[in-house]
Amino acid sequence: MSQTSRRSFLAVAGAGAAATAVAGPADGAVPAASRGVVPLVAHVSDAATGTIVLYVGDEEVVVHDHDLVRRLNRAAGV
């Protein structure tokens, strides 16, 4: 059932695009979560590679961001 949307494809294709999506999207292809109307679940699936999976609506977005993983770990007291 998992579908690769254009947005998730872009996110997987490059950490830069993914980081942009997380930090603050600049284009109009951003799903509902970034508009702040849908809860979002972030799963640090592999801290060593900086991989975070975002579950939003019925999509998932994979981002690779070591700095964000570090900040999340710090916030979680890990």
């Binding site: 059932m1 998992s2 809860p39 679940v41 799963h43």
Partner: protein, 460 residues
């Protein structure tokens, strides 16, 4: 059985647990195919006050491969929504439910149907279709069959017909015996731990399931959008399987007291051939099997090639299966029946081969007409309209698969093998002891009623 509680994880999630899949050319409408997928096993008819219902958080689908790649070329997707009409009562119904839209049914459930076809946009076929209530008893759901079954059969776009709701379980098997070290009561005097022979006991007697059934024109499923007439053509064969999917992330909402889903839907249950995951796949791989698509099934082919049950039969029934015990080759017969379909040249005038890609699909040759005298033993008894050419509600798949695993089908691919005499006689001694199958769609029997049904008799 055939896929009731068949894997550790899905057994903890009955709402998504796919118990049986059937696919057959409709006997009373032979220009159509009926696809049936059942969920929520072992429903005690008395199981209130919160009776059984589909999961609003589950996506149910019946999938069809028609091009030989074991991908979903056509899917019918079902999503459910439940309403509570009266917030101030604990009751499922606040009076007799005398119609499918009776406001005294406090918890009606509705569904949508979406058709997905490879390379095309999804097409919503219908919305807000009513499910029937469960069968509670003569005061709450009087005249259940006459009142609700037909009312819950909905004609929808494109000459299709759907039903979703509680039904009696059409599957039959002696669960109490087969799970007691593989015993078959009619032959248990020959068991390693012998007991006097006895009749089989249908372990699903008096129990209900939730059925999703759809009847569609054959042209809705076939590769070329036609009604195939040539049994031997590859385009005459489809592969069918059902799935249930849940959102990947579930968060407990302690304000609402229930989980919320986030992210894409991911497969948690699937079913093609009956008993595949149940008795072929080792326990350690069963959960993973439920999560992967059938097109990736070559990784499980080793379990089909050397099935554990074929090794167990000679041990459990000493001296009864000497030929099977001595047979060490890979089971090409089972690999064909379960994972590729039967190629041309094996059974005269028949094939349901879908190509070399190994996938657990329930394969149906659409050019085979319904049988006027269906044999519950299906193809191996000379009735090509029965399992493993699709699966009808009346097919005795336990006996068919027992006999196949015991070696009856080996000579189809290895004429040097002579099956043991007992192999062709194997059965668990059960038949359908629930209400009668219906002659028309949705064919599944009316559900057992809570008031009318008598609980089983405990013994130890």
């Amino acid at each position: 059985m055939s896929s009731h509680r068949e894997a550790p994880e899905i057994s903890k999630d009955p709402v998504a647990d796919n118990t049986d899949v059937y696919a057959f050319v409709s006997p009373d409408r032979p220009r159509t195919v009926t696809l049936v997928a059942n969920f929520i096993p072992f429903q005690n008819p008395q199981g209130g006050p919160n009776f059984y219902e589909f999961g609003d958080d589950v996506v149910y689908a019946i999938n069809v491969s028609n091009r030989g790649y074991a991908r979903a070329d056509v899917s019918y997707e079902f999503r459910f929504t439940t309403r509570i009409l009266n917030d101030d009562t604990f009751l499922y119904n606040t009076g007799p439910i005398t119609a499918i839209n009776d406001p005294d049914w406090n918890r009606p459930q509705f569904y949508s149907v979406t058709r997905r076809a490879w390379g095309h946009k999804p097409q919503v076929l219908a919305r807000h279709l009513a499910c029937p209530p469960v069968n509670i008893g003569p005061r709450s759901t009087p005249n259940y069959g006459a009142t609700f079954t037909h009312a819950a059969v909905h004609p929808i776009r494109g000459g299709r017909t759907v039903f979703a709701g509680q039904r009696g379980d059409a599957f039959f098997v002696d669960l109490g015996s087969v799970f007691d070290l593989g015993a078959l009561r009619p032959f248990q005097s020959l068991h390693l731990i012998p007991l006097p022979n006895a009749d089989g006991v249908n372990g699903l007697q008096g129990l209900n399931v939730h059925t999703i059934a759809i009847q569609v024109p054959i042209s809705d499923l076939s590769r070329n959008g036609d009604i195939p007439k040539d049994v031997m053509k590859a385009a005459s064969v489809i592969g069918v399987w059902a799935t249930a999917s849940r959102q990947k992330a579930r968060m407990w909402n302690d304000r609402l007291g229930r989980p919320e889903g986030h992210g894409p839907f991911s497969q948690v249950s699937r079913l093609g051939n009956p008993l595949f995951n149940e008795v072929i796949t080792p326990m350690a791989d069963k959960d993973r099997w439920n999560a992967v698509p059938p097109r990736n099934d070559s990784q499980f082919a080793k379990y089909v090639a050397h099935p554990e049950l074929a090794r167990l039969l000679p041990v459990l029934y000493p001296g009864v299966f000497p030929h099977l015990a001595a047979y060490t080759r890979a089971r090409a017969d089972l690999l064909a029946i379960l994972l590729t379909g039967i190629p041309a040249g094996v059974v005269p005038g028949f094939q349901n081969f879908t190509g070399a890609r190994q996938a657990d699909l329930l394969r149906l040759n659409l050019a085979v007409p319904p049988s006027s005298k269906p044999d519950p033993i299906g193809l191996i008894a000379g009735d090509p309209a029965g399992f493993p050419n699709g699966r009808r509600l009346l097919d005795n798949v336990v006996a068919i698969e027992l006999r196949a695993i015991a070696g009856v089908t080996i000579p189809l691919v290895d004429p040097s093998f002579t099956p043991d005499k007992a192999a062709a006689l194997l059965e668990d001694g059960t038949s359908n002891t629930n209400l009668d199958l219906r002659p028309h769609f949705p064919y599944m029997p009316d559900p057992a009623g809570g008031f009318q049904s008598t609980p089983g008799i405990p013994a130890a």
